[in-house]
């Protein structure tokens, strides 16, 4: 029997195409997953501030700069005046500090690039988490080892729920820990 063009298309080309499409999709889905969740995102900042130096080597407490983390839903990126507490004296001759001083003296806000972001319709509150004893590193990764701040974990609803459902597993350092709320209104309002 003679093979027709239609036969060929249906029996060979179609399954082949479908297979290629499926494989490409699955591969792209898994390979790009981290990128889609922004894991590894490390934008270049206007001032090359190093958490490794400040939080790691010099062991400055996170809350010295992120002052609102126990009070507000925002941890707050520090105002330039906090940097100037030290840098009005310390390392004034370094190029990055000269940049900082210029911002401060011209009263211009520093346009830091945002690294971590959740959608507008999710209302995350830093203070409730930190006040329950959860450490910054549990979500933000080993910040004190980062030269440039990089997103270490996904900030998706899955990531939130993973921890809310199994806090004992995710936060082993907490002696007593309750399950986090899983209802919609806990985050969405």
């Amino acid at each position: 029997m003679k093979k027709t063009v239609i036969d060929y298309s249906l029996k060979v080309r179609l399954p082949l195409t479908l297979f290629i499409v499926a494989v490409t999709f699955i591969l792209t889905f898994y390979i790009s997953r981290a990128e889609r969740d922004s894991i590894g995102y490390a934008p270049e900042q206007p001032i090359k501030y190093s958490h490794k130096l400040h939080a790691g080597e010099m062991q400055i407490d996170c809350q010295y700069c992120h002052t609102a983390v126990t009070k507000s839903r925002h941890a707050v990126v520090p105002s330039a005046s906090i940097c100037m507490n030290c840098h009005s004296v310390a390392r004034k001759d370094k190029p990055e500090i000269i940049k900082l001083t210029k911002y401060y003296e011209e009263n211009k806000p520093i346009p830091w690039k945002r690294v971590h972001k959740i959608p507008d319709y999710a209302y995350f509150n830093h203070s409730v988490h930190v006040n329950k004893g959860i450490e910054c590193e549990s979500c933000h990764g080993e910040i004190s080892e980062m030269e440039v701040v990089t997103q270490a974990r996904g900030f998706t609803m899955t990531a939130c729920l993973e921890c809310h459902r199994n806090p004992e597993e995710q936060l082993p350092y907490l002696e007593k820990v309750n399950k986090g709320p899983e209802n919609c209104a806990a985050c969405h309002r």
Partner: protein
């Protein structure tokens, strides 16, 4: 006969009362005509389409870049120097005052420096934490895109320096030419403004000050002066009155300091903790909010008020002759001529009871009359209170200060003459709108227009700025320094909460600039405010602390209390009674002009939130109308929406008709403040202007007799919210009567049978197991005895929860977005119906029927008893709204910010008004009351920070916070200390539609009327 809900017929409108087939039709059809029609793309604004294309282009660009790199997340821009006490994400509160009429204090909530909510100042001695709907919604005016931003000369933008220089030049020119300068203003209650005007008058001796109010209360002040020579008008301690008789005084909605009145009145409608109720008699011509809360209401034509008062005096004196011992002989014979028979339509039994109640409660009752009634009526009311010893209820320490009296009609007419003759060559309009308001003074607009130099200060364009050479844009009250001295013992301070958003100055700065002949800055007003404060408060009080300390504390509190000694009231001047004439009735038709509930004298007209809150009684939104009684409508063959022409002398106006049960026959009641011709986008083509019908010369300027009315044959559509979204009370009337949506009775009935509310309850059982709420379980209770239906809660909810304005056309098809509605039911006869109001919000049912039908699980139940709504999960099937027995779900048929009047509410400026803690919903999602989840979460995070549990009565929802009657209670029903449990377990507590076993979490406390007989 005992009244039970099976026997009382409630009706929402006249059609229903008369079993009109339309109503049956309406009940069968869930949606109004046109709602279910195919979607027409032309209904979308052009902006949407453009935005759609932009978005498509943007998403194409995004998807292209997304393959190559991480998505950009924008920037975080911190302060360079963070202001002290300002933490991003945490609200700051500032005390100030926005309104010189009541001098009420407000507390403004700000986030990251921008005001987002206005509430009453809880420490303020007059309004005690509550504030009216207009001031709550006025936050929108701050961000209104229609605000004027630059000074103009002959409609062209000029610089501030040039404006001040050329206006100073005009003033000097007038002085050189021996011409006068007229300064027109509304009533001034600010000592600082006043002192600046005085200084300006010293500099330019040719300045004449004219002040006016659309609703003039001069007769009230004059009458008090005649009765008690000279003293200031005292306030009334309504909370101490056992019997309140109001003759045409709408003190719960329009007259006096309404917030203060409601708080005092409702504090005496207490049935939950103890039975403690006053009794309210209302004698009135239109069905007002006060009348709808009356225990006994007598419909009476406005022109018969004097007759009623004289008859009442006759009744009192004939029961107790001693009361009239000091009456002059002539007056005695006059009142003897007024017997009850002359009062038609009034029930003899009830009238006798009123007389008895007043006699039995001497010293504990009060009579209040129409604020704008003639002097004779005011004097007679003083007399009744005097002979009944009710003066103990007058509070002289909180008297109303008469800082500046208003110009009378002769003075205003003289102003027109002087303008016409050219004697006045400069007019300074100090933030008023005389061309619109004073249209009842013949030829005012023409005379104004003739004047050489016209300078108008205003926040918005209006009828007067349109005719002015110079337009000076001024600050919003939230951007200004100031002070108000309205009540004798309270001096209220105003501080700026935000720097001016546009290039504006405050009106005091303008006056100061004229004084200095160069542009001054707003900061120069502060020393003047301080100076006046020092003189009028600090030195008077003899405070021991330093002035700076005293000032800072007072500014922080928003007010200072002035120490005054309680002065004894002067004696009543009986001689004044000799001039009282016989109380005649005026025949024919009467036009009664009233203030509006929300937009005031039109100063808040450009505020969509206020335009859209339905009228508390008629439920009409976005319009004014002439309300007539059903009988009068029949007589003139008028139906709703018919446009009539009302003529009085040479004046004629057109206005649509609304048949309003409870109006007295032959009376047309119209609220003023509508029909603007030059103003912002919102108020364009809204309502009808009847200002020119006021006749200031007559005895009763706002009640015009002898009008003629003719049908024009035109119609004009009024939209009302009562006919849709009403709880579906089924197609069969008998079933509806037994549903018990409203349950009420009388005190006597309650005392006899405390369980009467639950008499008809059936045992309810569930086929499934009860769900257990382990931790919190949020619940609300609404006391219908205290609720008067003022709708301030609706305003508060709108601001708190980012509720959009949808516009008249959308309200007309039943798409208003208010999460809270105040249902109003009538019962009894249409001539004098009884009114029941019921705030209706999401009931957060334990067995919520909406939850089961959501195909995407966007609405479900939280472990703390909330019926939650996840907007980003909603796909807009509207099954939930269809299944909700209370009809409290609202669907975003459009992106309403973008849909209203060419995206009026979608711009950088109005976006600032949004509460950052609540999602701004977009098109295609369902929304509803959340029990202010953002406030619950806020309290929770505070409790966690402090390592404690959420306290029993810690959380206040927005509606609860603003309720001047304290009718709303919210709390955790699992906590024994919660106040809400007292209400939930009370015998008067019931749930709406509880027989369908949805287990609602909003408990209503049944209303008890304080009437003698049981059949209401």
């Amino acid at each position: 006969m005992s009244k039970s809900r099976n026997e009382t017929k409630y009706w929402k409108n006249l059609k229903e009362y008369y079993n009109d087939p339309d109503v049956f039709e309406e009940k069968i059809n869930e949606f109004k005509d046109g709602v279910t029609d195919d979607f027409e793309t032309s209904h979308l604004s052009s902006i949407s389409r453009r935005k759609f294309l932009t978005l498509m282009a943007a998403s194409a660009a995004f998807s292209a870049t997304a393959c190559t790199d991480y998505r950009d997340k924008g920037e975080i821009v911190p302060y360079t120097r963070r202001p002290e006490d300002l933490v991003p994400g945490i609200a700051n509160y500032y005390a100030t005052s926005l309104d010189g009429y009541t001098g009420n204090g407000v507390l403004v909530k700000t986030r990251e420096g921008r005001p987002i909510k206005i509430d009453g100042n809880p420490e303020h001695p007059i309004n005690k934490g509550k504030i009216d709907a207009a001031q709550q919604a006025s936050i929108l005016n701050l961000y209104d895109p229609d605000r004027l931003g630059e000074p103009q000369q002959n409609k062209k933008q000029i610089s501030w320096n040039k404006a001040i220089n050329s206006i100073s030049g005009e003033l000097k020119k007038a002085a050189e030419q021996n011409k006068k300068i007229a300064l027109i203003s509304n009533r001034i209650t600010s000592p600082t403004t006043n002192s600046l005007i005085e200084k300006l008058k010293e500099k330019y001796s040719n300045i004449e000050v004219y002040s006016y109010e659309l609703f003039d209360d001069t007769s009230k002040r004059n009458a008090w002066n005649k009765s008690y020579s000279g003293s200031l008008i005292p306030s009334v301690k309504l909370n101490e009155a056992e019997i309140i008789l109001s003759i045409g005084n709408d003190f719960l909605a329009k007259d006096g300091n309404v917030v203060e009145n409601i708080k005092q009145f409702s504090s005496r409608k207490e049935f939950v903790k103890e039975v403690n109720s006053n009794r309210l008699y209302v004698v009135e011509s239109e069905l007002s909010l006060t009348g709808s809360n009356a225990d006994y209401r007598f419909p009476l034509k406005n022109s018969d008020q004097k007759k009623f008062l004289l008859t009442l005096l006759n009744g009192l004196v004939s029961k107790d002759a001693g009361l009239g011992s000091q009456f002059p002989i002539g007056f005695k014979t006059l009142i003897a001529k007024h017997d009850f028979a002359a009062l038609s339509n009034i029930d003899k039994k009830n009238f006798d009871q009123l007389v008895n109640d007043l006699l039995e409660n001497t010293g504990k009752s009060i009579l209040v009359v129409d604020e704008r009634a003639s002097e004779e009526i005011q004097i007679l009311s003083h007399l009744v209170n005097e002979i009944l010893n009710n003066n103990d209820l007058l509070c002289f320490s909180k008297a109303f200060v008469d800082y500046n009296s208003l110009s009378n009609s002769d003075e205003l007419k003289n102003l027109v003459n002087e303008l016409n003759s050219g004697n006045i060559s400069v007019i300074i309009n100090l933030d008023s709108n005389p061309v619109y308001h004073l249209s009842y003074i013949d030829g005012f607009a023409e005379a104004f227009n003739k004047t050489a130099a016209k300078i108008s200060l205003s926040q918005f364009e209006n009828e007067t700025t349109a005719l002015s050479n110079y337009v000076i844009p001024i600050n919003n009250p939230l951007e200004s320094w100031g002070d108000f001295y309205v009540r004798k013992n309270v001096y209220t301070l105003q501080q700026p909460i935000i720097a001016p958003l546009r290039s504006t100055i405050q009106k005091e700065t303008f006056l100061l600039s004229l004084l200095n002949e160069k542009l001054s800055s707003d900061s120069e007003i502060l020393p003047l405010v301080k100076e006046n404060f020092k003189k009028l408060v600090y030195e008077k009080n003899g405070a021991i602390v330093s002035f700076d300390n005293y000032w800072n504390n007072s500014l922080h509190d928003g007010f200072a209390v002035i120490k005054i000694e309680e002065e004894a009231k002067a004696d009543f001047n009986y001689a004044v009674l000799e001039n009282i004439s016989f109380g005649k009735s005026a025949g024919g038709l009467t036009l009664l002009l009233k203030p509006n509930h929300f937009i005031g004298d039109s100063r808040f007209a450009n505020n969509g939130w206020l335009q859209e809150i339905p009228h508390p009684v008629s439920k009409v939104a976005w319009d004014n109308y002439a309300a007539v009684s059903p009988n009068t409508a029949d007589k003139y063959q008028l139906v709703n929406n018919d446009v009539v022409e009302i003529k009085s002398g040479a004046k004629a106006v057109k206005i649509p008709i609304l048949v309003q049960p409870g109006t007295t026959d032959d009376t047309f009641v119209v609220e003023l403040g509508y029909g603007r011709t030059n103003s912002g986008d919102v108020v364009k083509d809204v309502g009808f202007n009847l200002n020119n019908m006021i006749s200031l010369d007559s005895d009763s300027p706002y009640s015009i007799s002898g009008i003629s009315v003719s049908k024009t044959g035109e119609t004009y559509e009024l939209v009302s919210t009562q006919e849709h979204h009403a709880v579906d009370d089924s197609k069969l009337k008998d079933i509806h009567l037994s549903r018990g949506i409203i349950r009420e009775g009388t005190i006597t009935e309650y005392k006899k049978n405390p369980d009467f509310v639950h008499e008809h309850d059936h045992p309810i059982f569930s086929i499934t197991d009860e769900h257990e709420y382990k931790d919190h379980k949020w619940a609300m209770a609404i006391d219908l005895n205290k609720c008067i239906g003022c709708s301030y809660c609706v305003a508060s909810c709108n601001v708190e929860n980012n509720i959009p304005v949808v516009g008249k056309d959308q309200v007309g098809v039943g798409r208003e977005m208010h999460w809270m509605r105040i249902d109003r039911y009538y019962s009894g006869s249409p001539d004098n119906p009884e009114v029941s109001t019921q705030p209706m919000i999401c009931q957060h049912c334990d067995n919520a029927p909406c939850e089961n039908v959501c195909p995407v699980n966007a609405t479900n139940h939280s472990p703390d008893g909330l019926n939650q709504m996840a907007y980003n999960r909603c796909v807009g099937t509207r099954y939930c709204a269809n299944n909700c027995p209370y009809k409290v779900r609202r669907f975003n048929f459009f992106d309403f910010r973008d849909n209203f009047a060419d995206a009026f509410y979608e711009n950088d400026s109005t976006a600032l008004v949004h509460n950052p803690e609540v999602t701004v919903r977009s098109r295609g999602v369902m929304e509803k009351c959340t029990f202010c989840i953002q406030r619950i979460m806020d309290a929770r995070s505070k409790a966690i920070a402090e390592g404690r549990e959420v306290a029993a009565n810690e959380i206040k929802t927005a509606c609860q916070q603003s309720c001047p009657a304290d009718a709303i209670v919210f709390g955790d029903s699992n906590n024994k200390e919660s106040e809400v449990n007292v209400f939930r377990e009370h015998k008067l507590g019931y749930h709406v539609l509880e027989e369908i076993n949805v287990k609602p979490n909003v408990t209503y406390i049944a209303k008890l009327r304080n009437t003698e007989s049981e059949d209401v």
